[in-house]
């Protein structure tokens, strides 16, 4: 059962990583425009790349 000493913290760390990713996505506003997001997948993103490349 001593394997649990490693496995439990590892599982928890993975879970926490997922949770923090979720909290980050929530804080950075990715859930604020779900309707828009479903439409944006249809767009070519060349324009934004151009802009970022500047």
């Amino acid at each position: 059962m001593s394997i649990l000493i490693y496995l439990i913290p590892m599982a928890l760390l993975l879970g926490l990583a997922g949770l923090s990713a979720f909290i980050w996505s929530l804080k950075s506003g990715q859930y604020e425009d779900l309707d828009g997001a479903s439409r944006r997948i249809l767009l070519d993103d060349n324009d934004e790349q151009d802009n970022n490349a500047e």
Binding site: L4, L12, G15, F22, D33, D35, G36
Partner: protein, 733 residues
């Protein structure tokens, strides 16, 4: 007298600097930020057009359009004054831009939604991890897992579950505390009790090396409840609630004349006595009177009339009405807050408040449910402890099981899931349901009030068939040079080559004049160029006069929507009573009512009389659906049990209505009603399922045959069953 509208307006526009720089803010990086509302955005293409054209503009760092709220954020380097160029860019693409007035309530809703999501995320994390640990304990037996290992797992579970309960349980705790401090209970009281008791008892067991540890049940319960809560929240939230009420009407700019200069001033800052320039095609920002210029005014917003009214010096004008033909200067009689428009809005708000607050089905069920659950749980605890001879820990565990197994998951999900699905289904058909309980109210309706212009009819005048075919191209060609509604309707009904006419002039309030093959031709009112002896008609008309010939009339009428009669008869078949309301004259109203197949109608009804008709109906015990599109309908829309407005309705009416439908047809009215009936049927079935489940599970839990874990699984199972039943909506016609 006659003014040339086009040159006049353009002269004034070139002097005006829109004042958007005043609304820009500096962020922490020294960049400028501006939020504006963009109207007319309806697809991915729009998002791309606006964002990419801004990205190519000089200095722009970021341009992001939020499709749900129609809010555009622009971030740029350099001077605040660039804001005006950016706004012009967007306007140049053909979209309307208004300053964004932040509204406290809306921001609050967004914050609340984010909070619920955060709680849901944390609960999901906790559930996953605690379950993972629990599976180890369940599958192990006393031989394979020692007490120490089990305790370790329990401690780890507790370390995850307890903070998670305290964090993610807050939406329930807050609501429960709120209810308790107001002296009554709600659905969240037993939920909070179950969460806290299950968590507390499990901690107690863990400390005492016991095996009755149910952190998993508590967290799972919480997760499912939060899912229901989030869905419910989304169903209730006003979909696409663009800030299109009075606030936004008053949040634009007006051109104020200050000595010999003009400047742009926020409408809400206009003071009494200010001189304001209103160009052709612009809305009057405040109530006032004309001090210079002659024009025609589209008063449809206030009166519902489609025909424009002539106005000259000293004539009164009202905020929100549209200046049609020539620029005028007005003197503000009142600040914007006191305009007639604002008064109507206040009447509307009062009507909305007067509407008996509808108690949602789920809330009524919860009212019955909570006392029963509390009593059962308390009885289980006391009964087993005092009379059953169990130690208090075990008795309390049975009480917790009762709380968990009767958990209102099914209740909490029964309504929102069906509503979210029904709303989505209607959305695909171009019907936008703004509030979750609108469908519930719609299903109970027995009377339908319909406005005439713009609801039963298309609201756009169209050319009648009886006219002079030969002269039509000439009339259409002349009409195409004017923005007047009748002229637009005339030119719109002709498709073909337009004869070339030169030297066209628009005479304000009279008509158009031009040269054709050397002769003067005129198109306009009967008084100006028509045949004064011809018999009067009910319909709007335009006369074409060619020098040396007899004038010919073109009649225009407002046609019924193509499917109005059919929809009315369908509504009647469904057992609803249609009544028509109109501000129009008796004869016109009667004709339209007859064509649509409506027996009962009220003609020449003012906004106040419309409200009174509604009150009368409600007094008789009718449950009323109002369908209307004008500001004059807005108080009735707000006061009716449930209301619908076409997408062409004015913003105010769309705001007052619960449901908005798109397209040229009236069919959505019946479609929405049908869907509401189906929704209600499914909701009731779901309640029946939930009650049945409780009837079986509760005695078992009371008898102590169920552990909290099995209770949590049974509870989740019943929730899934309810969700599955809701999805049957997808397969219904």
């Amino acid at each position: 007298m006659g003014q040339h509208a086009i040159s006049d307006t353009s002269r004034f526009h070139s002097e005006i600097e829109p004042g958007y720089e005043a609304l820009a803010r500096r962020n922490e990086n020294g960049q400028c930020e501006l939020f504006v509302l963009v109207s007319g955005v309806h697809c991915a293409g729009c998002i791309q057009k606006i964002e990419s054209s801004l990205h190519h503009a000089q200095g722009v760092r970021q341009a992001r359009l939020n499709f749900s709220t129609q809010r555009l954020l622009i971030v740029w380097d350099g001077e605040a004054r660039r804001a005006n160029d950016y706004i012009k860019t967007v306007e140049g693409l053909g979209y309307g831009v208004r300053p964004y007035a932040p509204e406290g309530e809306k921001e609050e809703t967004e914050k609340q939604e984010r909070f619920l999501l955060l709680c849901l995320g944390v609960a999901g994390f906790a559930m996953g991890n605690v379950m993972m640990l629990s599976i180890g304990v369940w599958s192990a037996s006393a031989e394979t897992m020692g007490v120490t290992t089990r305790d370790l797992i329990h401690w780890v579970s507790g370390a995850i579950a307890l903070p998670a309960i305290l964090f993610s349980g807050r939406p329930f705790f807050r609501s429960a505390l709120g209810a308790l401090s107001a002296g009554h209970t709600n659905m969240d009281v037993p939920i909070s009790l179950a969460l806290l008791l299950a968590g507390g008892m499990s901690l107690f067991e863990t400390i005492n090396h016991g095996e009755h540890v149910y952190f998993d049940s508590a967290v799972m319960l919480m997760f499912f409840l939060l899912v229901g809560r989030y869905l419910d929240f989304r169903a209730r939230k006003n979909a696409r609630s663009t800030a299109t009420d009075l606030l936004s009407m008053l949040s634009g700019f007006a051109t104020v004349i200050d000595g010999d200069k003009t400047r742009k001033v926020l409408i809400r800052d206009i003071r009494e006595g200010a001189n304001i320039r209103v160009s052709a095609g612009e809305k009057f920002p405040v109530d006032g009177y004309i001090i210079e210029g002659n024009s025609e005014i589209d008063t449809a917003l206030i009166t519902g009339e489609t025909l424009p009214r002539e106005a000259g010096r000293d004539d009164e004008v009202f905020a929100g009405t549209l200046n049609l033909s020539a620029p005028v200067t007005i003197c503000a009689a009142r600040p914007a807050d006191n305009s007639l428009l604002a008064d109507i809005v206040r009447l509307m708000e009062k009507a909305g408040q007067g509407q008996a607050r509808y108690v949602r089905l789920a809330d009524r069920a919860a009212r019955l449910y909570t006392p029963v659950v509390h009593t059962c749980a308390a009885a289980a605890f006391l009964g087993w402890w005092l009379f059953g001879g169990l130690p208090w820990q075990d008795a309390l565990m049975i009480a917790v099981t009762v709380l968990i197994i009767t958990c209102p998951c099914a209740l909490g999900l029964a309504v929102p899931v069906v509503q979210v699905l029904a709303t989505g289904r209607l959305m695909k058909k171009g019907i936008l349901v703004k509030s979750g309980d609108a469908l519930e109210r719609l299903a109970r309706v027995d009377t339908v009030l319909l406005d005439k212009t713009g609801t039963l009819t298309t609201g756009k005048p169209e050319l009648e068939s009886r006219h002079d075919q030969d002269k039509l191209p000439l009339a259409a060609s002349l009409a195409s040079h004017s923005a007047h509604p009748l002229a637009k309707a005339l030119s719109g009904s002709y498709e073909g080559a337009l004869p070339h006419i030169t030297a066209i002039r628009e005479h304000s309030g009279k008509g158009l004049e031009g040269l054709y093959k050397g002769g003067t031709i005129r198109l306009g009112s009967r008084a100006w160029c028509g045949d004064k002896e011809a018999p009067a008609t009910d319909n709007p008309e335009l006369w074409l006069h060619i020098a040396g010939q007899k004038a010919v009339p073109f009649f225009l009428t407002d046609h019924l929507r193509s499917d109005s009669p059919q929809v009315i008869s369908e509504l009647k078949q469904s057992g609803l009573k249609p009544i028509m309301l109109s501000g129009d004259r008796q004869a016109v109203a009667e004709k339209i009512a007859k064509e649509a197949g409506i027996e009962k109608f009220y003609a020449q009804a003012s906004p106040i009389q419309k409200s009174e008709t509604l009150e009368e109906l409600k007094k008789q015990g009718c449950s009323v659906l109002m369908v209307g599109d004008g500001l004059n309908d807005a108080p009735v829309l707000a006061g009716a049990n449930v209301s619908m407005a076409p997408g062409t309705a004015i913003d105010m009416a769309q705001n007052a209505a619960d449901i908005i439908f798109m397209g040229e047809k009236l069919q959505p009215v019946h479609e929405a009603y049908k869907t509401a009936r189906i929704t209600q049927k499914l909701v009731k079935q779901n309640f029946a399922l939930a009650v049945l489940y409780n009837a079986v599970a509760l005695p078992l839990a009371l008898g102590g045959f169920v552990t909290p874990l099995i209770a949590a699984i049974a509870m989740s199972g019943s929730s899934l069953l309810v969700i599955a039943n809701a999805f049957r909506l997808r397969f219904m016609p």
